[in-house]
Symmetry: C2
Subunit: 213 residues, 2 copies
């Protein structure tokens, strides 16, 4: 089986999941933490080398305050949970803003936890414009765009899996996603099932990867 | 019905279409020209304001010479066909390279044909890195990334329709695609049917557009 080296995760549908259970929308996020850990362990088991989680973006800050507090807390908690595993963790996002959680600032440089191993990237207050803006400070003769964006330490993504049925990137790492295969799960993220992951891998195995050639 | 302002078209599957009919792969491209015109007329009929066609990318130049000659000719012919319509045409791509067809250089500045109207963009020898590289020449205080890329005259894309079953962008306008909804048609592009277009519009009408908010 041909496996993706790097999987991108868009864990969408937390608010719709909560609403569908008669809960307040912001109560959904907390239920996305365990799925994140389950998915991490599956990646580890299958020998995936890198996984990137879409935490929240600068655009998500347009949402009501209650939701912002809840998704920020869920990101901090998810990162803490992953920091108990064997992983090499990196948080990627705009730390210049007040909404960036201070607890995560030390992780904006990659750090090894446990025995290290799988690279885990977590987007927190990430903005695609913030990411690309870094190119403006770069010598125009330097060739490889991917090396001069803010998220340069995040490699090209082979497979993006999005939960919650939407079919869009929503600002997720535009440079690393140029050739990603895009798999959609209709379940909401808090309803994550092991089978979602394996169906995505199976689908990916049947794609023809050409990178334009 | 909520219509997309701007539709991106990835007309994939020309080679597989040809192979499935026992033809040489490169014979597929020529059969993609009429579908392009049909789609243009549907966009016009429905009042779509802008449409962008993925012609070929710099990465596609890795393909065998026969195919390169065929897809380049198909792009030139497709643009000529569209130039007989009422449209405002722009060709976007790297003209510094020998593989850029000289016939299309005058169209790398937007030009009105007939009564003008719908904006039509055609990517020819387009490269996502080429596009973003322009940011390196830009003053870092200038805020809006989308205004300083090479394809700045191509607006944000609401709906991307890709024929041929693949689920990826393949380097298609990463900045304009950050929030695009992505609809996949399993048919190969030369088998384009009016119904493909209308199903995509219907699907788009049911999406919830939030731009992250």
């Amino acid at each position: 089986m041909r496996l993706p080296n790097h999987i991108g995760i868009i864990p969408d549908g937390n608010r719709r999941w909560a609403a569908s259970r008669g809960m307040q929308k912001e109560e959904g996020y907390d239920n996305g933490i365990n799925p994140g850990l389950s998915l991490f362990k599956l990646c580890q088991r299958e020998g995936i080398k890198e996984v990137t989680y879409y935490g929240f973006t600068t655009d998500n800050n347009k949402r009501p305050l209650k939701q912002r507090i809840a998704f920020t807390k869920a990101c901090i908690d998810a990162v803490k949970v992953l920091a108990k595993e064997d992983a090499s963790l990196l948080v990627v996002g705009n730390t210049d803003s007040d909404v960036f959680p201070k607890e995560l600032i030390p992780l904006t440089k990659r750090k090894k936890f446990g025995k290290g191993g799988i690279k885990v990237n977590f987007l927190v207050n990430y903005g695609w414009e913030w990411d690309l803006n870094n190119l403006k400070k770069c010598d125009s003769n330097k060739k490889n765009v991917a090396n001069y964006i803010k998220s340069a330490d995040v490699s090209r993504i082979d497979l993006i899996i999005r939960w919650g049925g939407r079919r869009r990137l929503s600002g997720f790492l535009p440079v690393q996603s140029v050739y990603s295969d895009f798999y959609i799960v209709d379940n909401y993220w808090p309803d994550f099932k092991e089978a979602d992951f394996y169906k995505a891998l199976e689908w990916y195995n049947n794609q023809d990867i050409t990178l334009g050639g």
